[in-house]
């Protein structure tokens, strides 16, 4: 009976993508940060279930922004 729905298609949900190893190092170098400095996203977050991520991975989020059109945000996957 339970109908499934696609979380990623909802109006409130921005696009989430997993960061590759190369993009990861580029990100750390660009902003001079470490993994610990990034905001977190829970491992059980419904949106990243289909992304095949594990703890310590970085998720790139392309938000629709009222002020900038589109902004990029990063979160690290945490337990």
């Amino acid at each position: 009976m339970a109908k499934t729905f696609d979380v990623t298609k909802h109006v409130l949900v921005p696009k989430h993508t997993k960061l590759s190893e190369k993009e990861r190092t580029e990100l750390f170098e660009k902003y001079v940060i470490e993994l610990q400095n990034l905001p977190r996203i829970a491992k059980n977050d419904p949106v990243i279930q289909s992304l095949d991520v594990k703890e310590g991975d970085i998720v790139k989020i392309s938000r629709k922004s009222a002020t900038a059109g589109e902004t990029v945000f990063y979160r690290r996957v945490s337990a």
């Binding site: 979380v7 298609k9 949900v13 996203i41 990243i48 900038a68 059109g69 979160r75």
Partner: protein
């Protein structure tokens, strides 16, 4: 994508500005104008070390003093009671788990949103209890049974069948057996206790009225509303998960005002957006003017940990590294005592604790540090 002349500015200027340049500037001068815009943009950017949190706090706090304490009103819609004004702001910022007036805006899929039979569709969303579909409850004192006469028209209206109702009552009402003949349900007490039988029977009758039979649990009120070209359903009470199981609901646009429900169903990023939307909605309907960037900063702070944390001593503030910073918010004695028991060290890395000690904190001109290389 943007024009090729603007390609080099793509990671330097925000998308919205690039689109505006492309739209408004003559094609030949794109590059020149973009360069000028970039200059202005860099100059307008906030400086490193600026106390943005403080500015945000003041910018939201000051208009907050002018907000009404009124919990009535719902913009444009009569009959629906929604928390607005300061109480709602506090509710959101505290990250409350249970909110005063949860409500949903249910969007419908294409053939259903035209307005035909909208009332019937709305009724299918509403929680229906046995009392709503029954015409009559009659007690049979001799047999200790209750006959519930169902109203056929109402049952049809909520898209239920007699069998379905009988099953739901059996499941929802403990201590009775349910038998059905036609549109009459006979509830019989399972335990035969002659002495308190009658009292029990009365109690069961009262309980039976509230037994859930059909619809979405938690939805106490439904209101079809026309929004632009389509009809949507506004509800009092929120239960997105169950609403999404209905086949006529547009699962891509339907939202609730319960940010925790959004976090559980759509993830932390959706919750962030919901916090911004909800806060901005309140501020806007109060006729106040707060820059959305301040609200974005608050929402980012609340969701930085992967789950929603309120701006309370149990939420965001409890995460602060500094003992003094935590103590300066609320319950100072508790924090100081606990810290001394644990032997916590305050590195004085942040602003509040430095202000308390009357020394320069790491903001503004106090941010840069001198780094020297020591001779071996």
């Amino acid at each position: 994508m943007v024009h090729k002349d603007l390609a080099e500015f793509e990671d330097k200027l925000p998308l919205k500005l690039l689109q505006e340049i492309e739209e408004l500037a003559p094609a030949a001068k794109l590059k020149k104008i973009a360069k000028k815009v970039l200059e202005e943009y860099e100059a307008a950017k906030i400086d490193a070390g600026e106390a943005v949190g403080l500015v945000s706090a003041e910018s939201i706090g000051e208009p907050g003093t002018q907000m009404t304490l009124n919990t009535f009103h719902f913009a444009g819609v009569a009959e629906m009671n929604v928390t607005m004004g300061l109480p709602r702001i506090i509710e959101i910022l505290d990250g409350r788990k249970s909110i005063k007036t949860p409500n949903m805006e249910i969007y419908l899929k294409s053939p259903y949103n035209k307005g035909k039979d909208i009332r019937e569709i709305a009724l299918r969303v509403k929680e229906t209890s046995l009392g709503d579909v029954a015409k009559e409850f009659s007690l049979n004192i001799g047999d200790l049974t209750i006959d519930v006469v169902l109203d056929e028209a109402t049952v049809k209206l909520v898209d239920a069948t007699f069998d379905e109702i009988a099953k739901a009552v059996e499941k929802g009402l403990t201590g009775v057996s349910v038998k059905r003949s036609g549109n009459v349900l006979t509830l019989k007490l399972k335990e035969k206790d002659e002495t308190k039988g009658l009292n029990e029977l009365y109690r069961v009758k009262e309980r039976a009225k509230d037994v859930y039979v059909k619809g979405v649990k938690g939805v106490t009120q439904v209101l079809p509303v026309k929004r632009q070209e389509e009809f949507i359903i506004i509800t009092a009470g929120s239960n997105l998960k169950k609403v999404f199981e209905l086949d006529f609901v547009d699962t891509d646009r339907t939202v609730t005002n319960d940010i925790h429900e959004i976090r559980d169903l759509f993830g932390i990023e959706a919750a962030r957006q919901a916090i911004i939307d909800e806060l901005f909605k309140v501020i806007e309907t109060q006729g106040l003017n707060v820059d959305i960037r301040h609200i974005m900063l608050v929402a980012d702070t609340m969701t930085a940990g992967g789950e929603i944390k309120g701006i309370t001593r149990y939420g965001v503030v409890s995460e602060k590294a500094s003992v003094l910073a935590r103590a300066s918010f609320e319950t100072p004695i508790k924090h100081v005592i606990n810290a001394s028991l644990k032997g916590e060290v305050d590195k004085l890395n942040s602003v509040v604790e430095n202000v308390m000690l009357n020394q320069t904190g790491p903001l503004g001109t106090g941010l840069p540090r001198l780094v020297a290389k020591r001779e071996e």
